[in-house]
């Protein structure tokens, strides 16, 4: 027997069959689900309207139906495009359980390690070079025989499934799906590193920071654009802001915080040619003078790395001397391994 509730049932099936989808597609699917039910039972009365309110009410209804299952049809704005994205999120467990269905324990351990590199990246760059990402394979615990070639495939899979973004420069950062589904994990594991957007209060890994010392204002690009239309100055410190989020003196949050060729400029000989080629992690705090990121100085490794085990793995780690110098002031995860 066809019922009007079949709309939300079919809709949930449609969502289950997809990973992450845009709000526009989701709303189109809703409309199509209504049509599907009407095609099966023309006389049935199904509430539907294209208004935002109707859509929101539908989402509430869908969420009510899956609440007891600790599932949630949640949305978030894509940090790079500003587009509204939806995914069915597993609320239960602060672990990366969602991935457990798709990946082996070693691959999940690798993913966690990559997340850690991203979250602990210096100067709120929230990204990691492919070189550093691949090198991280050797730090996975328990030890795995995953080759770097294999690791490349695995990274490719993370990107293809919407967990990670890979930029033209070859840097990895968190994609919307990771932010949506792993939000609680990120917040509980990296409370000191998490940055929230001043406007929408959501977690932020791509965006812009106010240039004023100690001003904590951070905004997504799309949130900045909306804000900047009406205001010319920072909401907190009143400093004048340029028109575009990409203009100085505003400070980028995310990959743009790591500039091309910056590594070589700042760290001199310590960088191997290989490293600078790959835009490896910049030294921790060269530019902190202009960017007060006080909360980041307490950075500590959240995932335990067996010190003994990593000893013999980092022999080729040429940036070690640099990191060691800074050890006292800022315990970076690399140096803590030695």
């Amino acid at each position: 027997m066809v019922s009007s509730d079949d709309v939300q049932r079919l809709f949930l099936q449609a969502i289950l069959s997809r990973g992450i989808l845009s709000g526009k597609l989701a709303q189109t699917l809703w409309e199509k689900c209504v049509q599907a039910v009407k095609a099966a039972e023309p006389d049935i009365s199904v509430p539907y309207s294209q208004t935002k309110d109707a859509w929101d009410a539908f989402v509430v209804k869908v969420n009510k139906s899956i609440d007891n299952l600790d599932l949630e049809f949640r949305h978030l704005h894509d940090e790079t495009t500003g587009r509204e994205m939806y995914a069915l999120v597993n609320r239960k467990g602060d672990e990366i359980a969602q991935m457990a269905t798709d990946y082996t324990p070693a691959e999940i351990a690798y993913f966690k390690a990559i997340i850690e590199l991203i979250m602990l990246a210096p100067r709120e760059s929230f990204s990691v070079s492919s070189f550093a990402a691949l090198r991280e394979v050797s730090a996975i615990k328990p030890k795995t025989n995953m080759s770097k070639t294999q690791a490349e495939n695995v990274l490719g899979s993370f990107v293809a499934k919407g967990w990670l973004l890979r930029s033209k420069r070859g840097r990895y950062s968190l994609a919307t799906r990771a932010l949506l589904e792993l939000g609680p994990y990120l917040k509980s594991t990296y409370p000191d590193e998490i940055v929230e957007c001043t406007i929408c209060m959501e977690i932020m890994t791509h965006g812009v920071a106010c240039h004023t010392n100690n001003c904590k204002v951070r905004m997504h690009f799309h949130c900045f654009t909306t804000y900047r239309r009406r205001h010319k100055a920072c909401p907190t410190c009143r400093a004048d802001w340029p028109e575009s989020a990409n203009e100085k003196p505003l400070v980028p949050v995310g990959e743009a915080a790591v500039k091309d060729g910056e590594d070589a400029k700042h760290s001199g000989r310590e960088k191997s040619a290989e490293d600078s080629d790959e835009e490896d992690e910049a030294p921790m705090d060269e530019s902190q003078g202009t960017q007060p990121r006080t909360q980041r100085s307490q950075r500590t490794r959240k995932t335990k790395v067996n010190v003994d085990e990593s000893m013999d793995m980092d022999d080729d780690d040429e940036e070690e001397p640099v990191k060691k110098e800074k050890k006292s002031s800022q315990p970076s995860r690399r140096s803590s391994r030695k």
């Binding site: 509730d5 289950l16 069915l88 990107v159 293809a160």
Partner: protein
């Protein structure tokens, strides 16, 4: 997550499909969303249908409810891996020590699945059941086959393994598999246009249907599965090992060949043998020693035979559809998929990777309809009879 795509279901077992008494009223209430704030059809308000008072005092009831929710979650997550859910797994992961509660928890979970998702856990038929089925009604394919299939399922020949499938009205399921222009357009727009598309060889394939496995499946290998299923199908629903291998070889898949996996997989390739073994394990295809397909008791032996071509002992093998293929995909869907697959291939799938998803989507559609129809007819003819719906 879960996969409930092309599956349909003709007449779910009575215990699971009974429309709840309140359902028709709900349809009316549904007209006004505002009045609906007590929710409906949800996992949570199962109790609202009558035994709410009882539940409050019954502590065991709360426990059953919690476990039923756990079972639903387990079913959704397991389905995503495409492995059938085994009863032992349910006992181990959901029930804990109180395995006696299996039926109560299971029934409650079925109720939640149906009300919330329009899905059910369907027990796969045993091989013995399927074989008996094919042997007796081989000739009166369609209707008789379906009927027998139902009877088998109702009989106590349970395999104690389950898959998730849709129990929505067949017309809804059919509609949900259609290609819709608007969905196709939105899907194309959804393809991430990051700045790294140039060196990326991952282009998801979209079909513009309400239910879409594009993002969940590792399509390149799924294509091979459907091809294998189609080869078996058009060969009269059983194919000898040597024939299958010869066909695959002609399609560019020698026994030691490697199958490309999509970017969403963690491996670039998988060997044909490993892939066949996976398909057997997942229940999509089945390989039997010739003359060994009658007695169900020999099923255990079958599970252990290596998938390699006819072995040293001189035994010969033949391939059939596995229980899952019939329950989940169905012959029509395989024919359709293969037709689409081939039409898509002809359009030059490999070469337009760098073009935007929208252009690709449009390209797929143009002229494809007609080709598809012809292809479907050809497959049906080759199968030697009308294609069976899902069992």
């Amino acid at each position: 997550m879960a996969r409930a795509s092309t599956r349909s279901q003709k007449a779910p077992a009575a215990s699971q499909s009974q429309p709840r008494a309140s359902q028709s009223q709900r349809a009316h209430r549904g007209r006004n969303e505002e009045s609906d704030d007590d929710g409906e059809g949800g996992a949570g308000d199962y109790e609202a249908d009558g035994d709410a008072g009882e539940m409050a005092v019954d502590e065991g009831e709360t426990e059953i409810k919690r476990k039923a929710n756990d079972l639903v979650r387990l079913a959704l997550f397991t389905e995503h891996k495409r492995t059938p859910l085994r009863r032992e797994e349910i006992s181990k992961k959901v029930l804990g020590p109180s395995t006696r509660a299996f039926n109560r928890v299971f029934d409650r979970a079925q109720d939640i699945l149906q009300k919330t998702f329009g899905m059910e856990l369907a027990e796969l038929p045993t091989r013995a059941g399927l074989d008996a089925d094919t042997n007796t009604v081989e000739d009166e394919l369609n209707e008789a086959r379906k009927a027998t299939g139902m009877k088998k399922k109702a009989a106590a020949t349970g395999s104690k393994t389950y898959i998730l499938r849709s129990v929505l009205h067949p017309a809804i399921i059919e509609y949900a598999a259609l290609t819709d222009e608007q969905i196709l357009e939105e899907e194309a727009a959804d393809v991430p246009s990051d700045d790294d598309n140039d060196d990326d060889d991952y282009t998801p394939q979209y079909y513009g249907s309400i239910i879409s496995w594009s993002s969940a499946d590792q399509l390149s290998s799924i294509g091979v599965l459907y091809t294998i299923l189609a080869l078996i199908l058009v060969n009269g629903r059983v194919i000898s090992d040597s024939e299958l291998r010869a066909h695959l070889k002609r399609l560019g898949l020698p026994p030691n060949g490697l199958l490309p996996l999509s970017q969403s997989s963690t491996h670039k390739t998988i060997t044909l043998e490993a892939y066949l073994a996976t398909l057997i394990r997942q229940g999509y295809i089945d390989r039997q020693q010739v003359g060994d397909n009658k007695a169900g008791g020999k099923g255990a032996k079958r599970g252990r035979v290596p998938t390699h071509a006819d072995d040293d002992s001189g035994a010969t093998y033949e391939w059939r559809w596995g229980t899952r293929a019939g329950s989940e995909i169905g012959e029509k869907a395989v024919a359709k998929f293969v037709a689409e697959f081939m039409v898509g291939d002809a359009a030059g799938d490999e070469d337009d990777e760098e073009e935007g998803g929208s252009r690709r989507g449009r390209e797929r559609r143009e002229g494809a309809e007609e080709k598809l129809v012809r292809m479907m007819k050809g497959i049906e003819r080759a199968a030697g009879g009308q294609l069976a719906e899902i069992k």
